[in-house]
């Protein structure tokens, strides 16, 4: 399922909705990722493109176990 930024914003993990985040153009499902309780992660909220924050903190291989939802499109 490809999503625009605006559509991605819906999936912020609140009120029972899935929690999706985009990194480098790929949308990942963090709904059950242990460090994403309540759809939030160290001050960040799901439903956003977090490419910048990600590269400042993690190596890319940490994403390999996350379910992929689709691509971030314009």
């Amino acid at each position: 399922m490809d999503l625009t930024l605006e559509q991605l914003a819906q999936y912020d993990g609140s009120r029972g909705k899935p929690a999706y985040v985009a990194v480098n153009g790929v949308i990942y499902d963090v709904s059950n990722a242990r460090s994403w309780g309540g759809g939030t992660h160290f001050g960040l909220y799901a439903g956003k493109d977090l490419t910048g924050q990600f590269s400042g903190c993690h190596q890319a291989d940490i994403l390999k176990n996350l379910p992929v939802v689709g691509r971030l499109i314009r």
């Binding site: 993990g13 609140s14 009120r15 029972g16 059950n32 242990r34 460090s35 309780g37 309540g38 759809g39 939030t40 160290f42 001050g43």
Partner: protein
């Protein structure tokens, strides 16, 4: 080592009570080590939490385990006579417990703990003086361990953790407040076998070895994807923001107030109060 008095104590090697008994048996009462419990930039919740200790209680700690020479909340002396006790202890062998963060703004004047010969003594001064003289430095509570609420953004008092201030070895016993069993258990270990095994954040593995998530009674709900939608419900609170998966303490097992209860048992999520990043990175605590 099993005690000759108790045949099953050998199987209880790993729980603090065994270590405490050993501590008591091994300590010559007249040679109890001195201990300064220094309150710095703190809410004083850790000394209050210590008063809640049971088996052993705070009186056992003070009578049988250590000679506490200084503490702002409990000591009978006041003023210069009180601070003199602090200074006298620096020339002896002692354990330094610090609760609260170290405030550095304006030379530490956002946390003045005494006045000595007309000059203010800041928490910063006191931690520096005692930190370099102490045999062990134990940071009790999340403020001393990591900065905690006292250092919360934007950190108006420019506070930091004891380790970030001292730079020398500090044993961390975090928690908001710290559970008195973790504090007394750590001291008991030091008295008998020296420094306990520490993880890479210098926390005793005995208390901080496993995540709350991995010991949680509601784990089966998480595993089957059954989640609470609001507080007060019996299911897993991961979707409400529970920080159990990223917080290491034995809260699910030892719990609080002599094992009476704990946040999850009260139908509220873990807010990661014992970890690095509390409170700023653990927010929002509750999100629907």
């Amino acid at each position: 080592m099993p005690s000759e008095k108790c045949p099953i104590s050998g199987s209880k090697q790993n729980i603090p009570r065994h270590i405490i008994d050993k501590a008591v048996n091994n300590i010559d009462q007249s040679k109890k080590i001195n201990l300064i419990w220094l309150e710095a930039q703190t809410c004083s919740g850790n000394i209050i939490s210590l008063l809640n200790a049971e088996d052993p209680d705070v009186i056992f700690l003070l009578r049988k385990m250590v000679n506490m020479t200084y503490n702002n909340s409990l000591m009978a002396e006041e003023g210069e006579r009180a601070f003199d006790k602090f200074l006298e202890t620096l020339n002896t062998e002692f354990i330094l417990v610090v609760e609260g963060a170290v405030s550095t703004r304006d030379n530490g004047l956002y946390n003045v703990i005494a006045r000595h010969e007309g000059k203010p003594i800041t928490g910063m001064d006191a931690v520096a003086m005692a930190g370099k003289a102490a045999k062990y430095v134990i940071a009790v509570g999340s403020c001393a361990s990591y900065g905690g609420p006292s250092s919360a953004r934007p950190n108006p008092s420019e506070s930091k953790s004891v380790y970030d201030f001292l730079g020398s070895e500090v044993i961390r016993v975090p928690g908001c407040p710290s559970n008195p069993q973790w504090v007394i258990g750590t001291i008991a270990h030091i008295l008998t076998e020296g420094k306990p095994e520490l993880d890479k954040e210098n926390r005793p593995v005995l208390f901080y070895g496993v995540t709350v998530h991995d010991l949680c009674q509601r784990r089966s709900f998480f595993d089957r994807g059954i989640f609470a939608k609001k507080l007060g419900e019996p299911e897993c609170m991961f979707k409400l923001g529970c920080r159990g998966p990223i917080t290491k303490t034995n809260c699910p097992i030892r719990r609080w107030n002599n094992s009476t209860n704990w946040p999850i048992g009260d139908n509220t999520p873990c807010i990661g109060c014992a970890r690095n990043g509390f409170p700023d990175s653990m927010e929002p605590f509750v999100r629907y």
